[in-house]
């Protein structure tokens, strides 16, 4: 079993290093194939581990080697395979494998084909370290690793110029990559502080030791640790106010958006909260804040998705919104429901993104859904996939999202937080509306792309086949809710609905369903026949507010980026050039000029030298005499 752990963990690393060997050379098809096969091996190992943990109930804990051992600080390179991490491993490797195979087709014409696979596999390795580590330090290393890989992959087309967008004055892949990295850096500082607080008070970073020591800590320390850890989670999972990077990250290649910015990396924040559930269950105030913030983000992101015209950005907003749902569940104490929604969401959201990638591929990188329409004729399978994924996302019965999202909404009712419940229900309706607005505008109605001279074509067959596991899971994942609950609650706290909630669960379900179906019906009515633009609506202030993302990117630009640039400029001109640089230059100039001046002593005349020697001797005598007198 131990070997399986290592295979699951290191196969992506091997894949990354192998692809890196060819990083500089032109496209080699076998690189993509080898990478996909290695990822498949990792998937098989993860699934075998999952079935082992499921059938026996045992967990596997391996310590590979000592990593840091200095004084009292002792951090081993240890990995744990338990119910939570094995779930994450299976989800991560499954989506990664599909995305790797998909990338073979999607990156077909890219000249940096090999480099792409190297980065993508490196990301999977970092993600595996993140989820498998048995201590916070290892988690943090994985956390930073996925951050770096995300930066590399968002900025993969670094040569692209800045272009103007509706909601952003100027954006390019490299700009978006830097934005993502810097935003995460702000949050990671919070996370580091949280880790320091825990280490300072517990003396260890091992999960089991930390959690065992929590009851002995005072309430304020627990609160501080929980708050700072959650700040880290907010950055990685793009929660308000650190959310703007996620939509801009859509500048990266679409497989990256599917894998990193929908299915895996952005859920790392949720994973952290689930992992540290003993801490968060002891800090009810912080947990309630998490739930409230998650609910707010769910609504806030969904509202922006209502009017957006960019295919990928709509899905990115919906990711943001679903992350909000997960945080709401985790904050309300239903950790296993959060994890379940995380897994289900990974499947249908990755599928949705890959479908969007197909559309983008067909439309020659055009992303504006107002310029699409009627693609169902040429892209039948993509339509089916995206339709299924949207049904799952909207929470239509018997699709994956229905089981997981309904459970979250039910939890909000059960906890008596009716405001949260109401917002989550309304958001469910909005989710259904924007999902199907996008699907209908893309695939149904008049063929608007024709006037732009685009000839769409369906994706390669093997790519479509590779996507099928996600499609199947997006449909059936919900039916595994009972065994899943039984499986993970071996580790996570159980969560039961009260008797009262249980009785009216059917009613709650119907309320949600009404909203969801209503959203779809509205989208059907407005967009199924084709696009009829409503000038009055589009020029209204609330439409503009939403289309400009509440002017938050502008606000950040105006009140953070620009002042910061101004201060930097000032500091550079006055402090750096006039003080720091001037001091350094002054020292060099002084040495140079004294050297130049004393060069005149070198006359070649022995008599002059003797005179200088005498002067030196006298000076030394004076120094000796003075110091003797002073020290005395």
């Amino acid at each position: 079993m131990e070997n399986l752990v290592y295979i699951a963990l290191f196969a992506p690393l091997v894949s990354s290093l192998f692809a890196a060997l060819f990083g500089m050379s032109p496209k080699k098809q076998f690189v993509g194939v080898v990478a996909s096969v290695l990822l498949g091996i990792s998937l098989v190992a993860s699934l075998m581990l999952a079935s082992y943990v499921y059938t026996t109930g045992n967990t596997i804990h391996v310590t590979m080697m000592d990593w840091i051992s200095a004084g009292d600080l002792h951090i081993p390179f240890g990995f744990v395979v338990d119910q939570v991490s094995v779930t994450m491993m299976s989800v991560v490797t499954l989506v990664s494998t599909v995305v790797h195979i998909y990338s073979n087709g999607y990156m077909d014409h890219d000249k940096s084909f090999n480099r792409f696979f190297s980065y993508l596999s490196a990301f999977v390795f970092s993600m595996m370290v993140l989820v498998m580590s048995d201590n916070f330090a290892g988690l943090f290393i994985g956390w930073e690793g996925v951050g770096v890989c995300s930066w590399l992959l968002i900025g993969f087309w670094y040569h692209k110029e800045d272009v103007s967008r509706e909601e952003n004055p100027s954006i390019s892949p490299s700009w978006a990559a830097n934005e993502a990295f810097i935003m995460n850096r702000i949050a990671d500082l919070g996370m580091l502080v949280g880790l320091f607080i825990l280490y300072w008070n517990v003396g260890s970073l091992q999960y089991d030791e930390v959690f065992a020591a929590l009851p002995h800590l005072s309430g304020s320390i627990l609160n501080a640790a929980a708050i700072f850890l959650f700040i880290g989670a907010m950055g990685k999972s793009a929660q308000f106010p650190l959310h703007t990077w996620l939509t801009d990250a859509m500048e990266g290649p679409t497989p990256v958006s599917a894998l990193i910015h929908a299915a895996t990396m952005v859920t790392a924040g949720v994973f952290l909260v689930i992992r540290a559930n003993p801490l968060f269950s002891m800090t009810p105030d912080v947990s309630y804040f998490i739930a409230a913030l998650g609910t707010f983000v769910a609504f806030f992101a969904a509202s922006m998705a209502l009017v957006n015209r960019d295919l990928k950005r709509i899905i990115a907003f919906s990711t943001l919104s679903q992350l909000g749902y997960m945080f709401a569940a985790a904050g309300l104490g239903a950790y296993w429901i959060a994890l379940f929604h995380l897994a289900a969401h990974a499947f249908f959201k990755a599928l949705l993104f890959l479908g969007a990638g197909n559309v983008m591929h067909a439309m020659h990188d055009e992303l504006d859904i107002f310029k699409m329409g009627g693609l169902k004729k040429t892209m039948k399978w993509t339509y089916i996939y995206m339709g299924l994924a949207s049904l799952a996302l909207a929470g239509i019965p018997f699709f994956a999202g229905y089981f997981s999202k309904d459970a979250i909404i039910e939890t909000a009712w059960n906890e008596g937080t009716l405001v949260l419940w109401l917002i989550l229900v309304v958001t469910a309706g909005m989710t259904a509306f924007y999902s199907f607005r996008q699907v209908f505008l893309t695939f149904e109605g008049d063929e608007r792309y024709k006037q732009y001279g685009i000839h769409p074509h369906e994706m390669y067959k093997y790519v479509l086949i590779a996507m099928s596991p996600l499609a199947i899971l997006a449909v059936i994942a919900g039916f595994f809710k009972e065994p899943f609950e039984h499986f993970v609650t071996a580790l996570l706290p159980e969560y039961h609905m009260s008797e009262h909630t249980h009785h009216i669960a059917w009613l709650l379900g119907i309320v949600v369903l009404v909203f969801a179906v209503g959203g779809i019906a509205l989208a059907f009515k407005k967009y199924y026949k084709g696009l009829k633009r409503d000038e009055a609506l589009e020029s209204s202030w609330y439409y503009k507010l939403l289309a400009n993302q509440y002017y938050i990117p502008d606000f950040y630009e105006e009140f953070i980026s620009k002042p910061y640039a101004m201060i930097s400029e000032k500091m550079w001109n006055s402090v750096d050039m006039r003080i720091v640089d001037a001091t350094v230059d002054g020292i060099a100039k002084f040495l140079y000029e004294t050297g130049d001046g004393s060069r005149k002593m070198q006359t070649g005349n022995l008599s002059n030298y003797l005179n200088w020697m005498a002067v030196g001797a006298v000076l030394l005598l004076v120094v000796a005499a003075v110091s003797a007198a002073v020290i005395g």
Partner: protein, 100 residues
């Protein structure tokens, strides 16, 4: 009564004379003489202090200095003769060939 300080004053005067010679003279031969004067000034001081403390070490040192000065003169004069044969002068202002 002539005491230690008188000897030391004589020594200091002699040393200063020698030092002035080293500093002011331009002729190499004269520099040699001046150096000898300085060495002997030191010898006087050694001998006087040695007597004052009833310790023979200082006088032994003076002998060593005399012996080393003698050998130094022998070597130095040899070099001087070679220099004179080469340049036809012993004036330091004429010998300044290593001007930086």
């Amino acid at each position: 009564m002539i005491g230690l300080s008188h000897y030391l004053i004589v020594s200091a005067i002699l040393f200063s004379i020698g030092l002035m010679g080293v500093l002011r003279r331009r002729n190499l031969l004269m520099l040699f003489f001046a150096t000898e004067v300085m060495l002997n000034a030191v010898n006087i001081a050694f001998a006087a202090i040695s007597h004052f403390y009833h310790d023979l070490t200082g006088q032994m040192f003076a002998f060593f200095i005399i012996a080393i000065a003698a050998s130094e003169v022998a070597v130095g004069l040899g070099i001087l003769i070679v220099l004179f044969k080469k340049h036809g002068s012993l004036d330091l202002d004429d010998l300044a060939s290593m001007r930086g």
